[in-house]
């Protein structure tokens, strides 16, 4: 940890203000209040690398700053990107400060710090950069994710990933190294997921094919059912592994239904009039089943999974959006993840319809509904056939279907659209 004098602290605060602007930190009109908390010198000299933690309006910001000699030629991983943050003067003189993760020469040095592997990791390319994390790929050998905003405790997504890996769940990019300091996760290195395409993109491919014809989804060449079934199996395995890793609890189905009812009443009361809902809810209440709850993914859906040559993978275990403080590691019925996935089936069917017929997507509703229904069924067939899932969801298949349907309505109320609309 570096000791900072006042000048240095002031300079870093100014640089962090620029950094925060580039990372979605400045909200509202007022200047963010920035307090430098820690500075770790990862690489000394020029080029040098500083790892900076700062309090920004109560949130924990994490910047990896590169110090370069002014005038030096620098290549960035993203062309046209202004990764230069400003100038900084220290004992070595004036330095140009850049985002080290976007610097093709400095990013491998950060990787080396995390992995302890100083070998040449090969060419670096930028895979993703948003406020939940920046991910770099190194010649398909390593994938480095660095979190710009930190939890003041272990990152729940990292925790989930590591637990799944240790439980033997192999449908994910295996963690290679974790970057941790002071009980916080700063980043991690994974094996890259070769040949991956997002589940959302694959579903869109199927829907484009469907909408281009006028037949039912089972007759379309791009039928998604076999993929949905395999996705169900993968999801089932994920839940069995999560139960193995974190254990199980229980909740009363009636209590959960109360929450759903309240949410529907608050968000969109018209959904309470959904045909058949009252009967289904009554049946669920009467059954009085206690639901097994486990640590779930928490933000599941086609966007969070990827198709590879090895089958379906969980591509993203970082639920909760771009900032810490969102969804926490709560225990829920695994059927909540299933409902999230089904809700994404609905969203993608709608998105594809809007893409094809922006002004008349209603003409595709019947096909969309058929596609959703077919793939929900296929998903459940795979999910419920997974070894070990029987202990985590109600034994009555009808109850499973009804419960997931009700939970999906809750998603519709929260997000302003209705399944099947």
């Amino acid at each position: 940890m570096l000791e900072l004098d006042a000048a240095w602290r002031s300079s870093l605060t100014s640089l962090m203000a620029t950094w925060v602007q580039k990372h979605g930190g400045a909200r509202g009109d007022t200047e963010p209040r920035i307090e430098i908390l820690e500075v770790e010198e990862l690489v000394e000299g020029r080029p040098g690398i500083l790892d900076v933690l700062a309090n920004v309006d109560g949130e924990l910001a994490h910047a990896v700053l590169g110090l370069r000699t002014p005038g030096e030629e620098v290549r960035f991983v993203r062309s046209g990107d202004d990764a230069v943050l400003g100038l900084h003067e220290d004992a070595l003189g004036l330095g140009m400060v850049v985002d080290a993760l976007l610097d093709t020469e400095l990013a491998p040095l950060v990787l080396a710090v995390v992995t302890g592997d100083g070998g040449d990791p090969g060419a670096v390319s930028l895979i993703a950069d948003d406020d939940s994390g920046l991910t770099l790929l190194f010649s398909e050998r390593y994938s480095l994710t660095v979190f710009p905003w930190l939890f003041d405790r272990p990152h729940p997504g990292v925790e989930l990933l590591v637990a799944l890996d240790e439980a033997g769940f192999n449908h994910l990019a295996a963690p290679v190294a974790l970057w941790r300091r002071g009980g916080r996760d700063l980043g991690m290195v994974q094996e890259p997921m070769a040949g991956a395409a997002a589940g959302w993109a694959l579903a869109l491919t199927s829907l484009r094919d469907l909408y281009a014809g006028d037949g039912p989804p089972e007759d379309a060449g791009g039928d998604f059912a076999s993929e949905a079934r395999a996705l169900g199996v993968m999801t089932g395995r994920m839940h069995v592994s999560l139960e193995r890793a974190f254990g199980r609890r229980a909740e009363n189905v009636a209590a959960r239904l109360d929450i759903v009812a309240t949410r529907l009443r608050t968000e969109d009361p018209s959904l309470l009039e959904t045909p058949g809902l009252a009967t289904v809810v009554e049946a669920l209440r009467t059954a009085g089943t206690r639901l097994t709850t486990i640590r779930t993914h928490g933000d599941f859906g086609l966007e969070r999974v990827a198709r590879t040559d090895q089958g379906w993978m969980v591509a993203d275990t970082m639920p909760g959006g771009y900032r810490p403080g969102g969804i926490g590691p709560e225990f829920r019925s695994p059927l909540e993840d299933v409902a999230d996935m089904f809700w994404s089936f609905h969203r993608v069917a709608l998105a594809a319809a809007l893409e094809r017929e922006p002004s008349d997507f209603g003409s595709l509703i019947d096909q969309a509904k058929a596609w959703e229904a077919r793939n929900r069924r296929a998903f459940l067939v795979g999910y419920l056939a997974t070894a070990g899932i029987g202990g985590l969801v109600p034994a009555d298949r009808e109850m499973v279907r009804n419960l997931v349907g009700v939970l999906e309505l809750e998603r519709a109320a929260e997000r302003g659209s209705r399944p099947g609309d």
Partner: protein, 613 residues
């Protein structure tokens, strides 16, 4: 515009004299009976095939694979052989066969023969003698048993026709073993006389000049209690024995195994490079068809990821269609149902455990899709095998029995009988196609040769481009990450002879037409002003090709992670058009519906060469 077919002028002898020629070769599977009838008797023959060598040379294939030409009662398309050491009289004589081989070799075309080692026809004198009693000299040349209960683990291959692998023989009062039709008794390889005779058979045909064999039904040669009777160690030992003969006395000749199985199992037939030179990659073929219907690459990339590394000096043989049904043995029940639903909507299209259709009707006549599939076939690892007539997008006749649906006469011209034969129509071994879409009036060699925009010309150009990229034969393959699931991109790399690899770039930029007298096969450019430059180059260099395919019927963007090729310049192979230099960012290519592109990647220092300067 009329294009006069001009031979590629490849000169005498094999084009590629190396012992690994088969790794770069394009094979052409030909049914002699259906290719060309030279004597007007309604059946194609050896002299007819010889007369059409001009065409095959022009097309640019490297090796002919002759379907069985042996005497046969033809109850299984000639795979029921009644004399292994002769030519069926309908096809000609041994002398005519030798003439065909010599003429083909003069044109740089090799020839391999189908060799059915597992069984004979029940009309073969060996079987007639064997079944006559239990103590005749050939009594143990076939597999006999008192009951039909032995080897229950062995599956029945043709489940729609045969109920058992055993058939009762009234004369001998015993059951005989057959893995295929009951009229095809299996030879008994436990009998050393049989094994020795089959080795003599191999030598006989190699001495006549064949360049190798396609070994039919090779997994079934031996049986053993408690096994499925496939892929047994004794079978591999026998193949090694044949290979040893080839290595000792017939270098450069090859064995191509027909073993319909999972790649990891079939790879056993390569041995340690001491069994077969090539094995068919059966599971890839249905997955190519599946991928284009599903519009995603995963059926292809999954099977490739499960394909083991080849031993040195070996190669996969790949194909889209052949003389049999489009076999669906190597797919799951679910995928088989899917493929039947997509490609065999009429139940009459089904044959055994597959689909009895040719390429063009399978694709509903979609030329773009046919081009895409051939682009895949010719750029993915393996030596491609083209089935006769598929270079024209010939059709089929699903109303013909068994696999005759895809064995109709070659369509040479719009004349009587499609130019195949001047015999009376009723004399023809099978009726030629006469429907308005695929009939010989619409689809034939003559018309397509006259039309530079035809599929035939496109195919010929693709074969030329493939030859300019030898690494497509034996180069390593790296599948590229691409977020678009409908796009399959890969890079093939390897070390090639420098003259071979650069000449096409030169030719393209100097506007040299392949049909002109320069003769691209001779690399005539070396005699031009470029010769000095060529002489100064190192003898070999690394070649890299980027191949991108859109498996969707809609246009697609392809963002390819190519940063490891940063600084390289892709030059599109067909048009020699330079594309923007690859950088660190994902490389974007836009592909039309079922679009494909092949690029040669040139190092920064090669820019001038790529640009033809």
């Amino acid at each position: 515009m009329t294009t006069v077919p001009t031979p590629l002028n490849r000169g005498d002898g094999p084009q590629d004299p190396s012992s690994t020629w088969f790794q770069h070769a394009v094979f052409y599977e030909v049914l002699i009976r259906g290719f060309y009838d030279s004597n007007d008797d309604g059946t194609g023959d050896l002299r007819g095939l010889r007369e059409k060598l001009d065409y095959l040379e022009w097309l640019g294939i490297d090796c002919l694979w002759l379907l069985p030409f042996y005497p046969s009662p033809f109850r299984d398309g000639g795979y029921d052989i009644s004399d292994f050491f002769n030519v069926h009289p309908d096809y000609g004589t041994l002398g005519e066969l030798v003439g065909l081989l010599e003429d083909a070799h003069r044109r740089g075309i090799r020839v391999i023969a189908d060799l059915v080692m597992n069984h004979t026809s029940d009309q073969h004198p060996w079987f007639i003698e064997s079944r006559s009693s239990r103590d005749n000299p050939k009594a143990d040349w076939f597999v006999w048993n008192d009951d039909d209960q032995r080897w229950p683990e062995a599956r029945v291959v043709f489940t729609d026709v045969e109920r058992s692998n055993w058939t009762w023989d009234d004369t001998r009062q015993q059951y005989y073993w057959h893995r295929f039709y009951s009229h095809q008794p299996d030879l008994n390889y436990e009998n050393p006389e049989v094994a020795d005779t089959m080795v003599d058979l191999v030598r006989f045909w190699l001495d006549l000049g064949f360049d190798g064999f396609r070994l039919d039904a090779v997994p079934y040669l031996f049986q053993a209690d408690g096994t499925a009777g496939e892929h047994l160690p004794e079978t591999h030992a026998f193949i090694r024995r044949i290979r040893k003969q080839l290595e000792a006395d017939y270098p450069g000749r090859i064995l191509l195994a027909e073993a319909n199985g999972w790649p990891s199992d079939v790879a056993d037939y390569f041995g340690n490079g001491d069994e077969c030179h090539l094995c068919f990659h059966f599971p890839l073929m249905p997955r190519l068809f599946m991928a284009v219907r599903r519009e995603q690459r995963y059926p292809i990339t999954e099977i490739l990821s499960q394909t083991p590394e080849l031993p040195p000096g070996c190669q996969w043989a790949t194909f889209l269609r052949n003389h049999d049904e489009l076999t669906l043995e190597q797919v799951s029940d679910e995928d088989r149902d899917y493929l039947f639903a997509e490609y065999a909507k009429d139940p009459r299209m089904k044959r055994h455990m597959g689909i009895g259709r040719r390429l063009a009707p399978l694709l509903d006549g979609n030329r773009r899709l046919a081009e895409l599939l051939y682009s895949l076939l010719l750029s993915l690892p393996g030596s491609p095998v083209i089935y006769y007539g598929d270079e024209l997008l010939m059709g089929d006749n699903i109303y013909l029995g068994d696999r005759d649906s895809v064995r109709t006469p070659m369509q040479w011209s719009p004349d009587r009988n499609g130019g195949f034969s001047r015999a009376d129509f009723a004399q023809l071994y099978l009726p030629p196609l006469m429907d308005p879409v695929y009939g010989f009036a619409a689809v034939n060699v003559e018309a397509q040769q006259r039309n530079p925009g035809s599929f035939l010309h496109w195919m010929r150009q693709l074969l030329i481009q493939r030859r300019s990229l030898p690494i497509l034969g034996d180069g390593a393959m790296e599948i590229l990450d691409c977020p678009n699931p409908s796009v399959l991109g890969f890079v093939r790399t390897g070390v090639v002879d420098d003259v071979t690899s650069t000449s096409t770039a030169w030719r393209g930029w100097h506007g040299d037409e392949p049909e002109t007298g320069l003769g691209w096969g001779q690399w005539g450019w070396a005699a031009t002003a470029g010769a000095a430059e060529a002489a100064a180059r190192p003898p070999s260099r690394t070649q890299a090709a980027l191949c991108v395919h859109n498996l969707s019927r809609f246009a697609q963007p392809a963002e390819l992670l190519l940063s490891r090729w940063s600084g390289y310049m892709p030059v599109e192979v067909l048009g020699r058009v330079p594309f923007p230099v690859i950088g660190e960012d994902p490389y974007t290519v836009t592909l039309g519906p079922y679009g494909y592109m092949w690029f040669e990647l040139f190092e920064p220092s090669d820019d001038e060469e790529a640009a033809g300067m």
